[in-house]
Amino acid sequence: MSGRETPARLWRRSALVWLALSLLLATTLGGAYLPIGVWKLPLALTIAAAKAGLVIAIFMGLGQAGGAARIAGLCGVLWVLLLLSLSMTDQTTRQQLPPGFGEDRAGQP
């Protein structure tokens, strides 16, 4: 990272990020009470992603990390999305019958 920094500057930098994170936290908390139905989860997750982005980019210094480290971090995220998306192809297209469904069909005259 950037050479010798004064303590005041580095604390100020971390405080600024902290402030942004706190604002995002307040937003997501407020957003949870908005009556926006199905959009609540996407909103909450977008804000979470913004928070995570701040932590990753500045606190964890991914920008300064090497290319391999960046790819490694990216892979972690991609692999979770891979697991989610391919298992969702099953979950969203499954026609699930409740237990005992057949019995009552079979019982029909």
């Binding site: 391999a68 972690g76 692999w79 391919l86 298992s87 099953d90 297209t93 499954r94 237990p99």
Partner: protein, 565 residues
């Protein structure tokens, strides 16, 4: 052997170290607290050998039990515990760690020209984690066993099994972190510790295969860990994550479990592919055919292995659409494997082939892997899978890959690098005999199981209808040959430690950097850190085919070490 010795030495003599890694202390402490990757590899090898024979003993009992249709040797419960033990031990305490932690540990740092792995102490910790996990699994066996099968399917494993599931799952969980640590170590070693001039496209394919395997280890094993964790908390605290009465869905467990367990198959087979490439190039005296294609095939297999897990769930009640998606992806993943098989065959073209024991193993691998891979196509076809799923066809298929291919490659590597590890030669005739016995015994054991599976014999059956008996008897007979074949190397390899001829530094005149140092190597592998200025497998000049001139001691043999500083 003798005419090989007539060939020129690919690596010119280097200054000789004062003593080998074996000489750096001989008390227990110097082994149990070592951070030398070579000693840790030996610790792993001893541990895994023990587990291999425990798992093998279980397999033997299973095969004896199945000689008769009635379940008369052991009770149904004991039988279920036996095949669970066999699966758990063989998968997690032999096949997964087998090559990465032994040859990966021993050879990889040398093959990239490093003096050790990136994190030597983490390396030792991995071994302790593996041992601790193995001990937990063994304790679960001693106190009463586990009867869920190695797949731990819910809700049987969470709500119904009265056996020691928690203990065994905890063992696998702990060992899993050992695997992850090994993976991290290998990845960083390859990234950071390559010798000067060792560019990515100069890495031997064995290094590439361990690197790709490590990627899978790091990205897949945590999914297993979390699947097991969910079982354990379900059992311990009743979190009812997969309890159908509370709306729990056992299929979700299967998704998470197979997200690990399908790539895990490639954790087992990829290192074997790497080993075989080293052997075939060395004994054919040829550069590998299509190096780049081989690299991309390895990476392709590693990445695409994550896209196909749903083919284990065609009959589970997964949606038809998901099945179609997973089916086409499974067919596609066959392509890089096919490329590898063709490239190995093509590598033989125009070579000067000799048939040492390790080469016999490698050629055996080629045949068995081809058969195992082709039967994979059967399983990717949904209608066929529906019939043969959970039958002996599947058992035969994955044994062709994991035992036929992977264990054969392991033995191939063992014979190839034995002189490097110990500095001694083993008895070549006995080794060849064992290789042939293993090939014959293996096919004898597992080929009948393809037919059994087609006929409808379900797996994990303690007793079975009498019309299947003939095939079971054949299979069990083959297992006797196979068991003997596995015992033979134990004898002659042990004997070689004391009575074997001195092997010299590079008995096979192989090109890898690991052969550029003494056998056995010194603690820090190289007296002078090596530099690299040629492509791998420099058995002949880059664009030149070996011609008759080679016989007379070709002048264009590897010039790898010519410009040593």
């Amino acid at each position: 052997m003798t005419d090989i010795a007539a060939l020129p030495e690919p690596h010119p003599a280097t200054p000789r170290p004062t003593r080998s890694y074996l000489g750096a202390g001989s008390d227990l402490r110097s082994w149990l607290l070592t951070t030398d990757h070579k000693r840790i590899a030996i610790l792993y090898a001893l541990t895994l050998t023990l587990f291999f024979f425990i798992g093998g003993a279980a397999a033997t009992l299973i095969r004896i039990e199945l000689i008769t249709p009635a379940g008369d040797l052991v009770s149904a419960d004991s039988y279920n515990k036996l095949f669970t033990l066999h699966g758990v031990i063989m998968v997690w305490f032999f096949l997964v760690p087998a090559i990465p932690t032994t040859f990966g540990n021993f050879i990889l740092p040398m093959a990239v020209g490093a003096s050790d792995v990136a994190f030597p102490r983490l390396n030792l910790l991995s071994w302790y984690l593996t041992v601790a996990g193995g001990l937990l699994a063994l304790v679960s066996l001693l106190v009463g066993g586990v009867d869920t099968g190695w797949t731990f399917y819910t809700p049987y494993s969470t709500l119904y099994s009265n056996s020691y599931v928690t203990l065994a799952a905890a063992g696998v969980f702990v060992a899993g972190f050992g695997t992850i640590a090994t993976g991290v170590n290998m990845i960083v070693t390859v990234h950071v510790l390559r010798a000067r001039g060792m560019r990515w496209m100069r890495l031997p394919l064995f290094v590439w295969s361990i690197y790709a395997t490590s990627i899978i280890m790091v990205l897949a094993t945590p999914a297993l860990a979390v699947a097991l964790l969910m079982i354990v908390v379900d059992r311990l605290f009743g979190l009812s994550l997969f309890d159908p009465d509370q709306g729990g869905d056992p299929i979700i467990f299967q998704h998470v479990f197979w997200f690990y367990s399908h790539p895990a198959v490639y954790i087992m087979i990829l290192p074997g592919m790497g080993v075989v490439t080293e052997i075939i190039t060395c004994f054919a005296r040829r550069r590998v055919f299509g190096y780049e294609a081989m690299v991309f095939a390895i990476l392709g297999i590693a990445i695409f292995s994550f896209f196909v897990w749903g083919h284990h769930m065609f009959v589970s009640g997964q949606s038809a659409w998901a099945s179609l998606v997973f089916s086409i992806l499974s067919f596609v993943v066959a392509v890089p494997s096919a490329i590898k098989v063709f490239n190995w065959s093509a590598t033989l073209y125009g070579g000067h082939i000799t048939f040492e024991a390790s080469m016999l193993y490698a050629l055996g691998f080629l045949g068995l892997f081809t058969l195992g891979g082709l039967t994979g196509l059967f399983l990717a076809s949904i209608p066929i899978d529906v019939h043969v799923h959970d039958t002996y066809f599947v058992v035969a298929h994955f044994h062709y890959i994991m035992v036929g291919a992977m264990v054969t490659a392991f033995f191939g590597g063992l014979h190839f690098w034995w002189p490097k590890v110990t500095g001694r030669h083993y008895s070549e005739p006995w080794a060849r005999l064992a290789a042939i016995l293993m090939f014959v015994g293996f096919n004898f054991t597992f080929f009948p199981q393809f037919i059994l599976g087609y006929l409808g014999m379900p797996r994990r059956y303690h007793s079975y209808p009498p019309e299947f008996q003939i095939w079971h008897v054949l299979s069990s007979a083959g297992a006797v040959i196979l068991a003997l074949a596995y015992l033979v190397p134990l004898v002659y390899l042990t004997l070689s430690l004391r009575y074997g001829r001195r092997a010299g530094d590079n008995p096979w005149h192989a090109s890898g950097l690991e052969w550029a140092t003494t056998s056995p190597p010194p603690r820090d592998n190289f007296v002078i850190p090596p530099t690299v200025d040629t492509d791998p497998y420099a058995y002949h000049a880059a664009h030149e085919e070996p011609s008759e001139r080679d016989e007379s001691g070709g002048d264009h043999q590897s010039s790898r070490k010519d410009e040593m500083p």
